[in-house]
């Protein structure tokens, strides 16, 4: 049972990639990409978790209480922000593609010509 969290992270990453590869709608594709990215948060937090330890916040508990790793949590925080910014930008790109070509289906899009 101890590999379940890692298995779920791998599973979600691959499921997200599957969605990206088979998607027929750019907005659906972007959401699938954000699912794939969310698997990295799960992986990071699962690595730093320690059974029975508290959160790395010492506001209401004495200093020295066993706590989980704060570094991976900080990494995951950065990850969340980057994911949100990237999703917003990709959505704008999808909207622009729709306005210029009239379709959101990636298979109907022709390669760019200048």
């Amino acid at each position: 049972m101890n590999v379940l969290p890692y298995a779920i992270a791998v599973w979600l990453f691959l499921a997200g990639l599957y969605g990206v590869a088979t998607s027929r709608n750019l907005i659906h594709l972007i959401v699938c990409l954000s699912v794939a990215q969310s698997s990295t948060y799960i992986l990071l937090i699962a690595i730093g978790y320690r059974q029975g330890a508290g959160a790395p916040i010492f506001m209401y508990v004495p200093i020295g209480t066993p706590a989980v790793d704060p570094v991976v949590q900080a990494l995951a925080l950065t990850d969340v922000v980057v994911s949100a910014a990237m999703t917003a930008l990709l959505l704008a790109v999808a909207v622009r593609i729709y306005k210029q070509t009239g379709t959101l289906d990636p298979q109907k899009l022709r390669p760019l010509r200048s």
Binding site: L4, N25, I27, V31, Q51, I57, V68, V80
Partner: protein, 78 residues
């Protein structure tokens, strides 16, 4: 691992898969919001309240942007 951890992990996996498999963008947006909620529950259980808070606010903000984008592309969204 405690029982509640296993349950929430499995719920996250199921909901994430459902988000990918749902092809209808409007419904997918609501599933994504639910997925954000489940992720934040998971991170609270895994003693990461900072990450839980940011996942939950992103889970509230992103679906709004996706819905607006879907409104722009209109009925062609499916």
């Amino acid at each position: 691992m405690t029982v509640i951890q296993v349950v929430v992990f499995v719920l996250v996996a199921v909901c994430g898969t459902a988000v990918v498999l749902m092809r209808e963008p409007y419904r997918q947006t609501f599933l994504l919001s639910l997925y954000g909620l489940l992720l934040s529950m998971l991170f609270v259980i895994l003693a990461a309240p900072d990450v839980a808070l940011s996942v939950i606010v992103v889970g509230a903000a992103l679906p709004l942007m996706i819905l607006t984008a879907l409104r722009i592309v209109g009925k062609h969204s499916t």
